[in-house]
Subunit: 293 residues, 2 copies
């Protein structure tokens, strides 16, 4: 990772991680609910979606502060999806990023409601962004589409339905487009909307985001087999037991690595079409493809 990217990522992370609990604290809501919302928001992670949004703003030479609320809204959607995903009825996970999952600490009922509250708050946040109303409405449409039945939630359902089935690589990528990709795409597009970018630039960032989402997933699948348990933060090979299709299980390890290079090339070529300073996003893309955790 270049020093510039490293610095930008850590600065962005700091800003987002300062803002998130502040936003929850300001709610007139039961303390126990706020506590469970903050607990999962503070569980960390790479904050890749906020970083994408802020990178776009920087690339268009805009202050990143312009995107903090929207970035937090997207991170709240991501976080609620993890809380619901970890529930006993879903993936039944007790630990995430080294911490007990939300329902393990607060109980299932509270975890369901904390997820619902984060999901709802993200729209409240978007609706109060100080931009022209037409931009706010666009942000709303983009976010709700990406997060809902046509996007992330639909991807979750397809993912469940794909378990124990022999998926083709096309079917696998359809699932990833929605389950993982759509929220990355909306992070980029939201940055572009806030920066006042052209329709054409928005479309190219959308293409880029789709490829980036796949890259992210292929690399995760590869790390799950070749990674070091300490570094990736979960047991190596843990996907194999899920009966879910992965790139290496469908294409073999060499095939998966070729596919990674293929999507990396496509991502970079879409990105080059965008009329902005692309340096940060190019570095970020390479980081996603070649990271070791």
């Amino acid at each position: 990772m270049t020093t510039e990217l490293q610095f930008f990522m850590s600065e962005s992370k700091k800003k987002i991680e300062a803002k998130l609990p502040e936003l929850i604290d300001s709610l007139l809501a039961p303390e126990s609910l706020k506590k469970s919302m903050i607990y999962s928001l503070e569980a960390g992670g790479k904050r890749i979606r906020p970083v994408l949004l802020l990178s776009v703003l920087k690339g268009f030479n805009q202050p990143v502060e312009k995107g903090l609320e929207m970035a937090c809204a997207i991170e709240m959607i991501h976080t609620y999806s993890l809380i619901h995903d970890d529930l006993p009825a879903m993936d039944d996970d007790d630990v995430r990023r080294g911490k007990p999952t939300n329902h393990k600490v607060f109980g299932e009922a509270q975890a369901i409601l904390a997820g619902d509250a984060l999901l709802t708050y993200s729209y409240q946040l978007v609706s109060t962004i100080s931009e022209e109303p037409s931009k706010v409405v666009s942000l709303m449409t983009e976010l709700s589409r990406a997060a809902g039945a046509e996007g992330m939630v639909g991807g979750q359902v397809s993912d469940m339905e794909g378990e124990n089935k022999d998926l083709s690589v096309e079917e696998l990528e359809q699932i990833h487009h929605h389950k993982t990709g759509d929220l990355m795409v909306v992070s980029l597009v939201a940055g572009a909307i806030l920066a006042g970018a052209s329709e054409r630039d928005q479309a190219n960032l959308r293409h880029f985001g789709r490829e980036l989402g796949l890259l992210f997933q292929i690399k995760d699948d590869i790390l799950d087999i070749e990674g070091d348990a300490e570094t990736i933060g979960k047991p190596v090979g843990s996907d194999a037991g899920n009966n879910k299709g992965t790139y290496p299980s469908i294409l073999g390890m060499d095939g998966a690595k070729q596919r990674l290079e293929h999507h990396l090339a496509l991502a970079l070529s879409s990105l080059k079409e965008v009329d902005m300073d692309q340096s940060l996003l190019i570095e970020l893309t390479k980081y996603v493809a070649y990271r070791n955790h």
Copy 2:
């Protein structure tokens, strides 16, 4: 119930119940997800929130068609809250309105996701309403506030925390304001926003809605003891086993009935301040207070 109200309620119900499945059908999403969303949307009920919204439009002499999307969005929020509420980790209900609950038919994982998808779709719907963007943004802010941690979800949490406790009538009403009232308030306020009503009229409808929410709840509590199981659609006395405070348990039956009259008077006096044809809403309020199911 007057014939005018009866006619208006049944016409509104028809319009909403035709529109809801149409909206879901139009989604590019997994069929199983759409099926589970439609299943609960079609489970019926009085559609009181949509009726409130459309009554406001009619009272301001506006076409009710103007409010169909927003009314459906609010009904989706109400429906998602019932799906999540019925889950084993929450109220663990197998039957609602005479039909098996969502998770009984589609499984818990799908029920959680169907709720998430309905919740998300409601914001997508609002964001695509063809009105000036500033109105759409106001609708968004109102809905997300009413539905989230400061509103309905917060009320749910307070309700859970109030179980097995001796609540005062003030504490009980705080819970009902958020758990039930806020979504009724937003139905009225959304109608007023769409009709272009003044701030003052919006504020009076807000007061009216708070009282109406309480009326609705007091009457439910009374019916749970005095109602006829056949007519109210659930076993009489079913609240008593929940260890939850009710108006009759706190105030006695006579006290509960006095409280009902008290809130009815307050509701009607706020309503009379609104510069609109109030006849339909007056009838609706009396119906809520004196219904037998």
